[in-house]
Symmetry: C2
Subunit: 219 residues, 2 copies
DNA sequence: GAAAAAATTTAAGCTTACTTAAAAATATTT
DNA sequence: AAATATTTTTAAGTAAGCTTAAATTTTTTC
């Protein structure tokens, strides 16, 4: 299957996870940077390949086959991120960009080799779960967005859900890293802001950021 | 530049090295598995991009710009081969196939990181020289094909110039590996065969193989 | 050196993955 | 619920990278 198809299917998968299943062509088009017309076109084409269910004016839904393809690509992406993160000193954003390309040129065999080499990790450097070779995610995610946490409690960062360079630069600068601990010192519910203490620094996060930083309660 | 263009330029570069500069469109077409017409077409297109010199019915010659592009791709290919060879237990042929794809999806930055990680190697696992970031090959190659060697002398394998699975399987089976030592026990000049002793086994090579195994005299 | 064979080029056409523009349907606002 | 705005779809068109078939040029053979 082509790179365009892999990216299309992946975009549906990711949008389905994120935005309350808003997987109409327009949203996928926005994600991929193509026109709405191109997205509709592609959707119809992929329906004929049994990768998704298409009904005029309705949201796109992946078939089992499409879902498996998406997870296969996601697996390769996250394995590459894990490998590059381990071997090289590169920013998370740069790593993401490289993985975005490499994921489409990776045989299942190579993916297996990478996974083995890394000790079959369950999570990548962002805390995102790595599907296994059968396209299954076996881990259960108990984490919540920082925006949903309670004042006064300690949390461990479990996931940085983004691919935005500014966000990652911000994270790198303030020690917001997978596995690090922070304290939620205040929730400004009215203003939708979250105040945290990390590395002895107090940081005020707006909802843009507090909704994509996921954490688990520290015990 | 597209994958098709990178591969085209690379094919001219490689053919120029190998077959006495037989870089007419037909040969490139054969190398790439496309029609002669497609090769002519592409050649004309790349001439307009200043990547090669095109004259009707003549051999294709890369411009400096084209040569640099080819060497950049070759560099990435050989760096990937070196990395995969180091990290994973895979056959040389499998490694070659993966590198063939990855080479086109690798930023200069990532290539640098791979090179650094490996200690800026000068040669890949086949003994092929790795161009530097400026597209220069700084090593001087004093090796000769096994077919050109002298009876009774010891040699060290310096290069396995092929991408054929059968050849690599043969090599793997008989210990023909970069860096290994062998003795040329007899040259059958009339029949164009070379008899070698390696790992206490005597092997008779025909010209197909003796012309792509390169060696340096052992001192 | 003429005839035959092989290679190169041109021409026309195809598929993929897009585009823009206009038409049709759905969603939102008031 | 009508009017307006937004989305989706259809239609027509484009560029890249191929294909096959036919014409042209070069190379080889006798």
């Amino acid at each position: 299957m082509s790179i365009a198809i892999e990216n299309f299917v992946k975009a549906i998968y990711k949008n389905g996870k994120r935005d309350n299943n808003d997987t109409k062509p327009g949203n996928i088009a926005k994600e991929l940077g193509i026109s709405n017309a191109a997205a509709t076109d592609m959707a119809q084409k992929l329906a004929s390949k049994d990768l998704l269910h298409y009904e005029k004016y309705q949201a796109l839904k992946l078939t089992d086959k499409g879902n498996k393809m998406a997870l296969n690509v996601v697996r390769k992406h996250r394995l590459w991120e894990s490998l590059l993160f381990k071997l090289f000193d590169m920013s998370l954003h740069d790593i993401h960009r490289e993985a975005e390309l490499l994921e489409h040129q990776t045989s299942d065999l190579l993916a297996e080799k990478i996974s083995e080499y890394l000790g079959n990790p369950k999570f990548d450097p962002h805390g995102d779960p790595i599907p296994n070779a059968d396209g299954e995610i076996t881990t259960t995610d108990t984490s919540v967005a920082l925006s949903q946490t309670s004042e006064g409690k300690k949390y461990i960062i479990s996931r940085l859900m983004s691919d935005d360079k500014e966000f990652f630069d911000f994270c790198a600068q303030h020690g917001l890293k997978y596995g690090n601990t922070l304290l939620v010192s205040k929730q400004f519910n009215k203003n939708k802001m979250t105040q945290i203490l990390i590395n002895n620094n107090t940081i005020l996060l707006n909802e843009d950021f507090s909704s994509i930083i996921y954490v688990n309660e520290s015990i």
